[in-house]
């Protein structure tokens, strides 16, 4: 298992480096898309700022607190998007037959398709999220304890892992339905937008559904409530704040199984 993971990471690095070199063949285009990317993700947070120019709090959460939610979610998602964001090309690769060429190479297919169309411009979202998060950490008036200091990077790591798992699961789904790229995007991109708002602005049943059906809430709301010293969105026990790593491991395991099942289905049907 460790051997395969090492092989996978190696293949990922090799292929991602090729895509970066390819992008650098068109420097102007790269600079423009990078700038555009920063601008669009920047506007994203601007909408929240705009809202706060009208109201003092959103569902009882202040601007720095919302910024904390936003920054965590955007950074975690940005990282996953940077690493695996192009996995939706799998459907295209299957349709045009180029996916077969990945199967005759001596490297794990997941790593090959994960690194496919690797785009450094996606770093923009990570940078922007990190800036907002940094500002929020300073100005949200957090009552810092060692536990909270430990929890923030843990949330980021677990969050990124959960989003990665969603990308992989979404890609696995494309083996079955090759036009599923849109379904996947509604889960991942839709998910990150949702998490940038405090849970109390949404209906209770909806929040319960999100908490238990999709583990996305663990990326943000529950541990964020703990860090900010606020009551939990649902009446969850105190230790729930520490569940993200566990949830992340479970998500990754499930995504791995889904991927293997998808790949097996492909290799037995050829479509």
């Amino acid at each position: 298992m460790g051997e395969r993971a090492r092989e996978g990471l190696r293949a990922y690095r090799l292929i991602a480096a090729m895509w970066m070199r390819s992008t650098m063949m068109y420097r102007t285009s790269f600079a423009l898309t990078m700038a555009g990317n920063l601008l669009v993700t920047g506007l994203d947070f601007a909408t929240i700022l705009l809202m706060f120019s009208r109201v003092d709090s959103l569902g009882g959460w202040s601007l720095p607190e919302v910024a904390f939610l936003y920054g965590l979610s955007a950074t975690a998602f940005g990282f996953a998007d940077l690493v695996l964001g192009s996995m939706d090309v799998l459907g295209t690769r299957i349709r045009d037959g180029s996916f077969d060429m990945l199967l005759v190479r001596p490297a794990p297919v997941l790593a090959q398709i994960g690194a496919d169309h690797f785009a450094l411009r996606r770093l923009g979202r990570v940078v922007q999220g990190a800036v907002v998060l940094g500002w929020a950490l300073v100005s949200a008036g957090i009552d810092w304890t060692p536990a909270k200091v430990l929890l923030v990077p843990l949330m980021l790591g677990a969050g990124a892992a959960i989003f990665c798992a969603l990308f992989v699961a979404g890609a696995a789904f494309q083996f079955l339905a090759q036009d599923a790229a849109e379904v996947q995007n509604s889960f991942t991109y839709g998910g990150t937008t949702l998490l940038q708002y405090p849970p109390t602005v949404f209906g209770k049943d909806f929040v319960r559904g999100v908490t238990f059906l999709l583990p996305l809430a663990f990326v943000n709301w529950v541990p964020a409530a703990y860090v900010l010293g606020r009551p939990y969105p649902l009446r969850l026990p105190a230790w729930a704040a520490w569940s993200p790593p566990l949830v992340a491991v479970v998500c990754c395991a499930l995504a791995g199984l889904a991927w293997r099942a998808g790949l097996r289905a492909y290799r037995s049907t050829g479509s």
Binding site: S22, D100, R105, P106, S268, G270
Partner: protein, 346 residues
């Protein structure tokens, strides 16, 4: 070809060790079709049906058949892309479906209509990636690269972005990429499709050399009968997922009674050329006449006779296309299709 083929693929090859082993392999696809709003009809398609053959190390085999006959399904099973639904399959002693990555080090694959080269990067970059991904020892990589690039005359193109290469150059580039890691077997899917005459000749010369000098086993699918004629001592024909012929190309012509065409330009309009039983005129258009003669026979005596008896200006020989040969073999005129097992190619 000294072996005895009985047309079912169970030919014995005493010359070398068995390298590819296909035994009663089948591949069944389940096709779902929308028949109503939510109703779906399930249908089973047998793409490969009880297919059996062996290929010895160092053989060069042409694998042909009509579109949808099961050619690419077979290649995909041999390369580990697809898992067979039944039967036994071994390449270099490896079960392709189970040990895909281990097999990858032993095989080279070129799909003619799909490049694996990096479009925007100089050709050499694709080779560097292969070097590292296959963990080819530095000395061997250098040696192989120099040799292959020289043989396929790509020296001046290594620093050119792949998107600027012509189709023929790209195909040669792809062949280099597939051979850098010294594979034991090379699968080629339509290696000469869309290439000009010179590129075709280069590719064929190279493949012949690769096979004789390095002993690389080659399995190629093609629509170009000349590929087979110039390269393969053995040809396998697949139709409806079954092997219907396995033997030398000449035998295929005999079985199918296929014909080549001699296009003759005479000095002036003349009545149809009379060559007795050895050829018949199929078309006359002014001074130009078309003569059909058995593909299994040499054109030389015929040409000599025409040149001696008629005022000849120019002539050319046209090969029958592969579909015609196969169709002629499968459904001989005036003959009801016989089961393939009854055919002999002795």
């Amino acid at each position: 070809m000294s072996d005895t083929s009985d047309g079912t693929g169970r030919a014995s090859h005493p010359a070398g060790e068995v390298f590819i082993e296909v035994d009663e392999v089948e591949k069944v696809f389940e096709v779902r079709r929308k028949t109503g709003f939510l109703k779906r009809e399930r249908r089973q398609v047998r793409a490969v049906d009880a297919l059996s053959f062996t290929v010895a190390r160092g053989e060069m085999v042409g694998y042909i058949g009509p579109n949808g006959a099961g050619k690419s399904t077979t290649i995909k099973m041999l390369t580990g892309i697809l898992t067979p639904s039944g039967g036994r399959l071994r390449v270099a002693g490896i079960d392709p479906a189970r040990e895909r990555t281990r097999l990858a080090h032993r095989i080279g694959v070129v799909f003619g209509q799909r490049t694996t080269l990096w479009w925007d990067l100089p050709l050499i970059d694709s080779y560097r990636l292969t070097h590292r991904m296959y963990r080819i020892p530095d000395a061997r990589y250098r040696e192989n690269l120099d040799r292959l690039v020289e043989l396929l005359s790509l020296e001046s193109l290594l620093d050119v972005p792949v998107r600027q290469l012509s189709l023929g150059q790209r195909m040669r580039g792809d062949i280099v990429a597939a051979l850098l890691h010294d594979p034991d077997v090379l699968y080629l899917d339509e290696p000469t499709i869309g290439l000009d005459v010179i590129s075709k000749a280069k590719v064929r010369d190279f493949l012949r050399e690769l096979n004789t000098e390095r002993g690389t086993t080659v399995l190629l699918t093609t629509h170009d009968l000349q590929d087979i004629e110039q390269l393969c001592s053995r040809v396998m024909v697949i139709d409806h997922g079954r092997l219907v012929y396995d033997g030398p190309l000449a035998g295929l012509h005999e079985v199918g009674e296929s014909e080549r065409t001699l296009v003759v330009d005479l000095e002036r309009e003349l009545p149809p050329i009379d060559m007795g039983a050895s050829a018949r005129v199929v078309k006359v258009e002014g001074p130009r006449q078309w003569l059909a003669f058995p593909a299994s026979e040499s054109a030389a005596p015929l040409v000599a006779r025409i040149a001696a008896e008629y005022p000849l200006l120019d002539l050319s020989v046209r090969e029958p296309d592969i579909e015609t040969v196969i169709a002629a073999m499968l459904y001989p005129t005036g003959d009801t299709p016989r089961p393939p097992s009854e055919r002999t190619t002795a």
